[in-house]
Structure formats: structure tokens, C-alpha cells
Amino acid sequence: MPYKRTEQKFNGKINVCEIGAGDAAISIGGEKTLPFLGDEGFKTAVGIAISDAPEDWADCFKTIYGDDLKNPAAFAKAAVEKSGADFILVKLASADPNGADNSVENCVATAVAVEAAVEVPVVIEGCKNAEKDAKLLEAVAKALENKNVVLFSAVEDNYKTIGAAGAMAYGQKVSAESAVDINLAKQLNILLTQLGVKSQDIVMDVGSAAAGYGFEYVASTMDRIRLAGLGQNDESLQMPIITDVSSDSWSVKESVFTEAEAPEWGNLEARGIGMEVTTAAACVVGGSNAIIVRHPESAKTIKSMIAGLIG
């Protein structure tokens, strides 16, 4: 019997989302197939993460960045230079009311300084306190009007403020965070769209986990989201996916235990990079359109993997 090749045809298409302004702008999304299977030039963007409160980061980052760690603008510049990343994520972790509780004004100043220091698009993360992030990301959106930054991220408890201020009043992009909950991912996109945010202005932060820490669930969530968007042509799930693996990857025992605590595991920096690259690679082949890592070596490795896959 002759071999009959069967091809699964998709009607749907992932939205193209442009982030950044002017010459620095990049586009993510646009694919009509699962990752790397089409011929439409699917290319994952790679971002590097910095923080305004990196005190708890592994010692290797002190060696890499030195005093720049204390100055977000210098830190941002160095991170982009050392990693060759396509964009940068700045975590305004100091805003956390249960931590340093830094003021909105100070954090906005940090965001503005970082944006001015780099020539790549900027993604701005709050402190993961829904109430504070609503105020903070609203103020950031206003201060960086026309810079087309990504507000990372709106959750169920603050999507109205962040959606209305960010995407509608000040022309930014809004990320919708659903923490590995596929139904919530769809729901948040519907709610943002009902609010009046254009679907082209939404990206999805569907969540992640470090490889080996329940990643199967992340993988199946990404698969189902992509299959719904492409196969069922579900317009409420055709937004590009942006995934930050940096915090998860650098907070599991493999990337935290010192060489004194776990001598048989070898060099801590290499372990952290290993965790991060493994997790990021899995997300990239799972469908992330933009992937964010912490270590410059991780960024370079993932970039070369993507280049190799595209061929």
C-alpha cells in the first residue's frame, strides 16, 4: 500500500505583537503552525532579566556585573551587552509592600532610567502584589508613553487598571498572567478584550516551572493553548506567549545549594545555567514566543539553539 502523508491543517494564526518603539521594535508571534514546524519564519525572542533588588541573586552575578548590580541603568546596559538579548525585563521587586516597599515614584524612575539606557524593547514587571502592581504599572505606563513597553503582568485582581491604563490610555502592551491555568488564560484574554483592549495588544504569560518541578503540566498547558488557537481557531487564545523562566530556574535546590552544601553536584553557576537553559529550551519548543532568562550564557545558548532549529 502506498504511503499517504496526512497533514494536520490549522485555520488559526497567532497574532503578531510588536514591542518597543522606533528602530528598537521587534515583533513576536505570527506563526500558523506549532513551533518551528512552519515556513513563516517563526523566531523566538530572547530576553535578559534584571532586578532593582538583586541582593538574593547567586554570587556569580556579582562577578559578572560588579557594582552595576546596584545601578539599574548600568545593570541593564551591561546585561544587554553581555547577553546579546533581543529585549530586557526589569523586575521592580523593591516595590513589594511585604519587602522594601519602595515607592511608586522611585520605581517609575528606575523604569524610565532603564528604558533610556538600552536600545532594545523593555518589559516591566512589578512586585507580584496585585494591588501595588496596579498602581505601579499604571504609573510606569504613563511615564513611558509611546515607548510600547510590555506591562508584566495583569492578573485577575488588577487587569482592569492595568488593561485600561496600559493598553488603552498610554498605548502599551499588556501581558495577562494565568499561572499554568489554561481556563484562566482564556478567561483573562476575554476579560481584557471585553474591557476594550485590542487583542493585538495582549500577550500571554501562561506561567512556567523549573524543569523537573511539574514542568509536564506547563508543557501540556502550552500545547493545549496553541492547539486551541491554531486548530480550533479560538481567537481568545491567539496571543503570543511570553515566559520568564529566570526566577523559577534560579530558586530550586539544584541552582541554590552551594558547592559546600552539595559538593558532588559541582559548580553552582554551571548548575544554574543548566537549569535555566533546560527550562527555557522546553518552553521555546512548547510555544513561547519570547523567553526570558537571567544568566547571559543562558541567553546566548538559547539564541544559538533557536538559530539552529530555524536553520
Binding site: L184, K186, Q187, I190, L191, Q232
Partner: protein, 261 residues
């Protein structure tokens, strides 16, 4: 599985307003009904111009262009007894959002509609009947097989044929309705797609009863594999039932706001 396909039935020459609009080539009443149905969730629109013996070709082309130009190439079912009009409609039809559907062939005098669909790379609704409503499922499946064979002989993909088991009216033929559901299951088990004019089920029942009968019937039919129907999408209860069934069958992804369409 792909989600249930809703073909909106409301652009039909049996309505006096639509008949008049066709005669006058007046776009407004037609565009209004199209918009209502698409907003309510219709996937395809049926364009029924009636017998249209005199100016069918011109009328069908006018209707196809009108709807597709105003609603982003909405896919259409072309519905008339005038075969030349269907062919004329397909000539100006834009396939960007889906193939045209020829409505409809049967195993009797209308078998030529299947040849027409095959010759024009269109889909076709195939009524499992020859003259009137089939007596039982032996007849339904016999006609279904005849139509399938004919379509395939002419080069059609089996999935381009939508087999209609002919829904019967509850008021008068209540005892035969389970047969129709069984036929849907049998046709589905053959790997084929189905459709049907659902409103027939509740024909003659009071207005407030019809949505209940229609939505219960469609839920039971979908359980048997029913894959599309020609319905009034403005029946909210019916459309909510279709979405709920699609969720239960895992054809679409659940979200809390999924019924806010």
C-alpha cells in the same frame, strides 16, 4: 474534533421582508439579518433566494457579493432550486473563509446538485431521501450510501458532504424522532459529517416552547455525533446549548465568560 458548525437560516425568501429586499435589490434588510446572525455566533449563512426562476443568476451573484463584501468574506450556503443560480453564485464566491455549500442534493431528482458541487469544488448538503421523508433508517442509510458513492465518483472528499437525516416534526411524528438520532449516530460511525434543518422539529409548537425543544434535540443529536445544523442563531437558548455541548465534547476550551458571545 472540530466545533459544531452553525449555519444561519434567516436570510430566506419565505420572509416577506427578505423577499421584497431581493426583488428591490435593497441591501439593508439582508445586511441587518446577516449581522444579527453573525453576532449571535453563526459560522455560515444560508442564502435562500427561493425558486428564482427568472433572474436567479443575477440575484444570487448580487447576494453573494453583498454578504461577502460586507462581512469579511463570510462563508455561505447557496440555497435555491435554480441550479444555474448556484453555479453563478459560486463564480463570484470568495473562498478565503471556507468553501461554498450547495444546498441541497437528494438521492432523487436533486442528485444533480451533488455533481454541481463536485464540479465546482464546493461542499454539498445531501438529504438522505428520495421523495419526501424516508420511512425508516434502512431507507436513510441506503440514500446516504447512494449519495456518498455518487459524490466520490465525481471526485468529492467525503468530508465535503454534509448528510441530512431529515428531522421530523414532533407534532405529528413524535414516535419517529429517536430514529433520526439513531441515523445521525450511524452516519457518524461511517466517518461522515451531518447537518439538518433543526427548526423542523418544533414546527407548529408555541413560540415559547420551540427553543426548549430545539435545544434539547440538538444536545441529544450532538451526543450522537451531529456536526452542524441549519438553525436560527438568534435563538439564544439554542446557541448557549451548542456552546455548552462543544465544551462537554472538548471541542472548545472552557473559560468562565465563554457564554458571553
Amino acid at each position: 474534533m472540530s466545533k459544531f458548525m452553525v449555519i444561519g437560516e434567516r436570510i430566506h425568501c419565505i420572509s416577506p421582508a427578505i423577499r421584497q429586499a431581493f426583488a428591490d435589490r435593497n441591501p439593508d434588510p439582508i445586511l441587518l439579518r446577516a449581522k444579527e446572525q453573525l453576532t449571535a455566533g453563526a459560522d455560515y449563512l444560508d442564502l435562500n433566494i427561493g425558486p428564482a426562476e427568472r433572474d436567479g443568476e443575477d440575484l444570487m451573484q448580487w447576494g453573494v457579493k453583498l454578504l461577502q463584501e460586507n462581512f469579511d468574506n463570510v462563508p455561505l450556503a447557496l440555497d435555491t432550486a435554480n441550479m444555474k443560480a448556484i453555479e453563478a453564485g459560486i463564480k463570484v464566491y470568495n473562498r478565503a473563509k471556507g468553501k461554498p455549500i450547495v444546498n441541497s442534493a437528494d438521492a432523487g431528482d436533486r442528485i444533480g446538485y451533488l455533481d454541481l458541487a463536485a464540479a465546482n469544488d464546493a461542499m454539498c448538503i445531501a438529504l438522505c431521501s428520495k421523495e419526501g421523508v424516508p420511512a425508516d433508517n434502512d431507507e436513510r442509510i441506503m440514500y446516504c450510501s447512494e449519495l456518498l458513492e455518487r459524490g466520490m465518483e465525481h471526485g468529492m472528499e467525503p468530508t465535503d458532504m454534509l448528510f441530512d437525516p431529515l428531522f421530523i416534526v414532533i407534532k405529528g411524528m413524535q414516535d419517529k424522532l429517536m430514529d433520526v438520532l439513531e441515523a445521525i449516530q450511524m452516519i457518524t460511525d461511517m466517518g461522515l459529517l451531518t447537518t439538518g434543518g433543526l427548526s423542523n422539529v418544533s414546527n407548529g409548537a408555541p413560540k415559547h416552547i420551540r427553543p426548549l425543544l430545539d435545544s434539547a434535540t440538538i444536545a441529544m443529536a450532538i451526543q450522537c455525533g451531529f456536526s452542524s445544523a441549519i438553525v436560527n442563531p438568534c435563538d439564544r437558548r439554542l446557541m448557549e446549548t451548542v456552546v455548552a455541548c462543544d465544551i462537554i465534547k472538548n471541542n472548545i476550551l472552557y473559560a468562565d465568560s465563554v457564554l458571553e458571545f
